[in-house]
């Protein structure tokens, strides 16, 4: 594998985020809780893509969306 990891855009919907903390637990260098105990992105390159997608999939309210920042391809959620 010579491909560099894709640059990610990670979007968190604060209408949905309940501060469950699965994302922070799985990827603490990517996600951090703000003063409202809601998730914010501190570094979209702070963990391998597979871990970030797993963190998004572990969100109990589906508040996290992960895109390839260059192509716009959606890595999570999967299309139905």
């Amino acid at each position: 594998m010579t491909d560099a990891a894709p640059k990610l855009r990670i979007l968190i919907d604060h209408d949905l985020c309940v501060g469950n903390g699965q994302c922070v637990g799985l990827a603490p260098d990517v996600f951090r809780h703000d003063e409202n105990v809601q998730s914010t992105v501190i570094d979209p390159a702070g963990a391998p893509v597979t871990i970030i997608v797993q963190a998004a999939s572990y969100c109990p309210t589906g508040a996290i969306r992960v895109e390839n920042a260059d192509t716009g391809d959606v890595l999570f959620p999967p299309s139905e």
């Binding site: 501060g19 109990p60 959620p77």
Partner: protein, 409 residues
Amino acid sequence: MTTLDYDLDDLFAPDVIANPYPLLGHLRESAPVHWNERYQLWVITRYDDLVWLVRHNELFSSAVIRSDQRPPYPPIDPEDTPLAAHVRDFRADQLVEQDRPEHTAMRGAVHAYFTPTAMEKWRPFVRAAVHDLLDQVIDHGEMDVLSSLAAPLPVRVITRMMGVPPEDQDTLRDLADKLLYINRGESYRMKPLMEGIRGMIDYVAPRVDQRRANPGEDFISVLAEAEGRGIFTRHQVLVNTALLLFAGHETTMNLICNGTLALLRHPDQWAALCADPAGRVRVATEECLRYDPPVKSTQRIATADVPLRSQVIKAGDRLRWFIAAANRDPEAFDQPDRFDITRQPNPHVSFGSGMHYCLGATLARVEGQEVFRALAERLPSLRLRPGTLEYQPSIQFRSLKALPVEWDR
């Protein structure tokens, strides 16, 4: 301001059990952080306060059972005090009673099983079960929603999740009925509760040994594997399998019954759902969850002195936060007493918030959506039968004892 002719602290008063909303609304308006002298606990009723305190788990511990040595409330039969000690030991090992750091490891071990993606895979099974249960009564023209649909559905799902044979459903239903005495008001409640706990331990224990030897895809295997990694003790495996049965059963029953009742009491909303069941059911289910939530309240115990509004909650004080009050807070919801199946956004707190956000939320949603959709598709003439509805005397759960309905054959 509303006038109430009953004691603001009597949370088990028959009028309050029948309809808690006037009392909770009164407290939310006039005393949002209220010391309940009768039960020696704080009652929290505003949306913002609830969300804030639930997310600040460092100030408000979930280990209420372990930390709080006061006797059960309302009082139990005196001869049952030894049983209460057993019940306390059992409940203290529930995942919902854990704080960090133990909670993080325990939840981490089971969380993958319950992700939205994983739970969506259960939808075909749930849909088939709903239609099968309706097939059994559809020619009768009437049913009790609780006993014909709301109670058997989650038991079918949980039986399969536990990886045990379908013919064990009656056994598990009987055990679940006994476990449902948790947080009820009857003075004799420790006896059936202890029977349920002992029965559940006897049922699950040999199956854990079997899963340790031959793991499968089921929930007991998930816990058994976590036991192998030292995250759960054997007692915690047994307790939390029982929690799956109990929590998944009672709450889903209440969602189905309370949601059906709300829909049928608002014929315009029911007609709107029947006009487009598949398109409207997801948003409608959220409104059912908000309007008359399965869980009315949950508890915490303060770990430090915490100022909140004009009060100071002292370290060691118990508190109960009322979902049923926060979901009707006009600061959070426009026309909160209106049942509107198109309400969006709908940030209700029926599954709680923060690190203890309901593990089974997606499963509950799937079950509610499939039931309301099937009822709207197959029984659009559904209506309530005349009579008075009764609720279980619980401070925690909003549980109908029966919900008789009828339809045109």
